[in-house]
């Protein structure tokens, strides 16, 4: 799981164009949106695209997305449980 979280962080850094940021700088359990990493609504759309393209997961309910994208830990767990590729 720890290796997968690192891969996920690298994918997020690339998808969100966070140039110069290292995976170690993202807290596994810290909030991704608002305080913490400080992502916003456009980033959430980028993450939805990332989930669909990389793992075949479609998130259509925004309320569901809010829970999934709470932290790297919640996101990694959801992907592992629902991935289609």
């Amino acid at each position: 799981m720890e290796d997968f979280k690192r891969i996920l962080k690298l994918q997020i850094i690339e998808a969100l164009n966070l140039q110069g940021m290292q995976p170690e700088e993202i807290d596994d359990n810290g909030p991704l949106f608002g305080e913490g990493l400080g992502l916003d609504s456009i980033d959430s759309l980028e993450m939805i695209v990332l989930m669909e393209r990389n793992y075949g997961i479609k998130i259509e309910d925004p309320r569901e997305g809010r829970k999934i994208f709470e932290s790297i830990t919640t996101m990694a767990a959801y992907i592992q449980a629902n991935r289609k590729k």
């Binding site: 998808a15 164009n17 966070l18 400080g38 456009i42």
Partner: protein, 341 residues
């Protein structure tokens, strides 16, 4: 006749070392292949990682150029932001279009779409400087920058605003270079270019070194129309050909269009300095911005950049500057400028 635009500050990011020094005196950067590529500044001193993630290659240089231009003028909030671009952020446009094709119009990344829109730079400048007043981008090929200038002049003329940030920005990509190559843009000696230019202009003279006194535009004109239009322009300002101290031309090494510039050059006395600039900037829709930046800086520094001289005249005092640029025979632009110092 327009309401004059008094240029208080000018900044350029180009393929030359024009940005950090705001000068063209240093060693001239040679070209690589048939493309001039602009020199990017260090963005880290301007933006955080979180800010940079939402900025494309073009909007980054655009915002940095605008920041420094306003800083030079000591202004934090201009009354209007007016820009012109022929193609806008091509990198993001291509990225978005490739994604449409690759993912068969499915779920697409929003960022390249947002950044590909022509007015994204204006929005960023407005956000950065907290300016929510008049904000417009003109996309009219070789007339783009000129429409931004004209808009400012109109707003000055009816006293809607007293100052404006005016600019132009352009980038070239590998794919777009090939498309233009197939259309014949480079086959006769013209070199591709890109760059970003910003000017802070005021309605009143207040310490400016250069005024844009008039602008004329013609689309696919006959030579006679240009000749007549220039005569009318000069006489409306009570000057004649002998009063022109510097002629700045948009010659781009493509001999098919030299006759337009010769039309003006042949009218001028031998004492007039003849300057060109596309051998340092390359050709693109808004390349005139590089020439206007050079004119503003030369007026401020009271000297002509030797690297721009095509034919040296004998005039010591520079007062009247005539600027003529055309874009592949279609859009023809004339600026009449005057030094004010």
């Amino acid at each position: 006749m327009i309401s004059p635009l008094y240029i208080r500050s000018a900044r350029a990011i180009s393929a030359q070392e024009s940005f950090a020094s705001n000068d063209l005196s240093k060693e001239i950067r040679s070209i690589t292949g048939n493309r001039f590529v602009y020199i990017e500044p260090n963005y880290q001193q301007y933006f955080t990682i979180m800010q940079l993630r939402r900025m494309s290659r073009l909007t980054r240089i655009g915002l940095v150029t605008a920041i420094e231009c306003l800083k030079d003028a000591g202004i934090s909030q201009p009354e209007a932001i007016l820009t012109g671009t022929g193609k806008g952020s091509l990198h993001d446009t291509e990225k978005f279009m490739h994604a449409i094709r690759e993912f068969q119009e499915g779920t697409l990344n929003p960022s390249p779409f947002i950044q590909s829109t022509y007015n994204s730079l204006n929005g960023l400048i407005g956000l950065h400087h907290q300016v929510n007043s008049y904000n417009t981008t003109y996309v009219h090929s070789g007339f783009s920058l000129e429409h931004a200038m004209l808009d400012a002049a109109l707003l000055f003329g009816d006293n809607t605003i007293g100052n404006a940030l005016i600019g132009a920005f352009e980038e070239m990509t590998d794919e777009h270079y090939i498309i233009k190559e197939k259309l014949g843009f480079w086959k006769n000696g013209a070199v591709s270019g890109e760059g970003c230019f910003f000017f802070y202009a005021e309605k009143d003279k207040n310490g400016s070194a250069l005024a844009i006194e008039d602008i004329k535009l013609w689309f696919e004109p006959e030579e006679n129309q240009i000749r007549q239009g220039l005569e009318e322009l000069l006489s409306s300002h009570q000057i004649d050909w002998n009063d022109i101290d510097v002629f700045i031309s948009g010659r781009n090494n493509d001999k098919r269009y030299d006759h337009y510039y010769n039309l003006v050059a042949d009218k001028l006395p031998s004492s007039t300095h003849h300057i060109h600039f596309k051998h340092l900037s390359g050709e693109f829709d808004t390349a005139a911005g590089f020439g206007i930046w050079a004119a503003a800086r030369m007026a401020e520094m009271k000297r002509i950049f030797p690297s721009l001289l095509l034919k040296e005249g004998s005039r010591d005092n520079i007062k009247h500057i005539l600027f003529y640029n055309q874009y592949y025979g279609k859009q023809h632009v004339v600026y009449l400028m005057k030094t004010t110092a």
